[in-house]
């Protein structure tokens, strides 16, 4: 069973969000990286870009597949993980830590209410994929 930290919120598309005041740090879940396999490229928006909840904000490519990334919340990108272009494998090795992708300053903090709890996300992924 993939690791699902209790303090994070989740989307059905397998992104996680860590709420830090009016900001949300975003990445993909352990389940998602395991399904993708070796990540070799992550395409992210630039700092200052606007993203919209449940719209795509970028792309993650593994050796075999390409997958869209969905923004859990709407807002402005205030930080991106500058390590990922050089070390995309961080998404595999530490999906909730060094493999984070971006930080969004939320336009509407109520977006968080629409995200899944860890318990619900765990139910979503239980037995899935294999």
């Amino acid at each position: 069973m993939a690791n699902v930290p209790a303090e994070l919120r989740y989307t059905r598309e397998h992104e996680w969000a860590k709420i830090e005041g009016d900001r949300a740090r975003i990445g993909i879940t352990a389940f998602a990286q395991e399904q993708l396999g070796d990540v070799v490229f992550v395409e992210l928006p630039k700092v200052g870009a606007k993203v919209t909840a449940m719209k795509t904000f970028g792309v993650v490519e593994s050796v075999k597949a390409v997958s869209d990334l969905f923004a859990p919340v709407s807002g402005e990108v205030v930080e991106i993980n500058a390590e990922l272009p050089k070390k995309p494998e961080l998404v595999n090795t530490d999906p909730y830590g060094q493999g984070w992708m971006l930080v969004i300053r939320m336009a509407n903090p109520k977006d968080v209410d629409g995200l899944m709890s860890a318990a619900d996300y765990e139910k979503l992924t239980a037995g899935g994929g294999h």
Partner: protein, 373 residues
């Protein structure tokens, strides 16, 4: 990520349960339930380049043909010249349509004076069987032995020593594209110095019933070498780094051997074969497009079907693409106009609506380590 198997149940190799038990991620491939990866594609790819990897490729098809006209039948079907084959020798070739398109690519084994084995792609077994049996000539008896034959590939710089330890005969003297019969771990095998990785190694043809025993023995004996089971994912990245064509991706009915860079297995001087006239006409007219290898300037990954651009205009299509774990960059193959096919030609690949820079490079992308001597 759901397993949509469709209407027909997937076929299974004799080792399917072994893969599942080993934790492989299974996927449908050409109608077969196959392991795509065990630990991860990059890890498995590197294991083959650095040590030794074990592949179950029992999904491949094997046809035998024997009789006084077996050679004549092979000569009519295949583009290469099987007359030059000695007993114990293997040859790469193509089956072509009269129009010059490719039915399949294959290897031809001369088992005995009037006895050959054709090894074909898994996804083409039914099509090829119909093709060879309906275009055969003279007294040649065909037998489809695909279901009763298992095929394991042992590939990597440590493959030779591993197989040598388990074999009841010398295998170090089997040269590239040669084979011999012997027992490996007590399992009678056709031991072939061939592969699809660019590394030295063997492909071992055994009876289906012996596959599990041979697999287990190789895993056990290869433990000190760090042997790993290798899935289709790494098989694909390994062959891509060598620019080996994959049927259905880089070659098919709509491509001919000349533009695919397979002119070296077309031997018109040998006499009549299916597709000869069309291929000769193509050669005389000149080849308008060629299959090239290219590397990406950035890391974005080219994929099968993406458009190739030159000067902003579409000029061709990507037939295979991936991140190459040994070359550590994104690489691909595709057809481009001959004028843009020279090494150094600047191209772009359209990825999600944006042109990403690429350039034609010398291939193989990664140096071959097959034992050519």
């Amino acid at each position: 990520m759901t397993d949509t198997t469709g209407e027909t149940p997937l076929k299974r190799t004799p080792l399917r349960d072994v893969h599942v038990k080993a934790g492989a991620k299974m996927v449908p491939f050409g109608g077969w339930d196959m392991p795509v990866q065990y630990t991860g594609i990059i890890d498995e790819h590197r294991a083959v380049r650095r040590g030794v990897g074990l592949f179950d490729i029992s999904h491949m098809g094997e046809f035998e043909v024997r009789g006084p006209d077996a050679l004549a039948a092979v000569q009519r079907l295949c583009t290469n010249d099987a007359r030059t084959l000695e007993i114990g020798q293997v040859q790469y070739a193509a089956l072509c349509y009269p129009e010059g398109g490719i039915v399949d690519d294959l290897t031809v084994y001369r088992l005995a004076a009037d006895h050959y084995m054709l090894v074909v792609n898994a996804s083409n077994i039914d099509k090829d069987w119909t093709w060879v049996t309906s275009h055969s000539v003279g007294r040649a008896e065909w037998k489809n032995v695909s279901d009763e034959t298992a095929l394991l590939a042992v590939q990597g710089p440590k493959a030779e020593a591993l197989v040598a330890r388990l074999a009841d005969r010398d295998v170090t003297g089997i040269h590239y594209y040669r084979f011999a019969r012997g027992a490996v771990a007590g399992v009678p095998a056709l031991i072939s110095r061939t592969g699809y990785t660019g590394e030295d190694g063997f492909e071992l043809y055994v009876a289906a019933g012996g596959a599990e025993r041979l697999w287990a023995a190789l895993i056990e004996a290869g433990r000190p070498d760090g042997i790993q089971p290798i899935g289709l994912g790494a098989r694909d990245t390994l062959r891509l780094e060598m620019k080996y064509a994959l049927y259905g991706n880089d070659i098919d009915q709509t491509t001919n051997p000349l533009e695919a860079g397979l002119g070296w297995v077309v031997k018109p001087a040998k006499g009549e074969f299916i597709g000869r006239e069309a291929i000769e006409a193509l050669r005389a007219r000149g080849i308008p497009r060629k299959l090239v290898g290219f590397e990406m300037v950035e890391r974005a990954v080219p994929r099968h079907g993406y458009r190739l651009l030159s000067g902003g205009a579409p000029v061709g299509v990507v037939t295979s693409g991936s991140f190459g774990p040994s070359v550590e960059r994104s690489i691909g193959m595709g057809y481009v106009p001959s004028a843009q096919s020279a090494v150094g030609s600047e191209l772009a690949v359209e990825i999600r609506g944006t042109a990403h820079g690429a350039r034609v490079v010398k291939t193989p992308f990664y140096p071959s380590h097959t034992k050519k001597a």
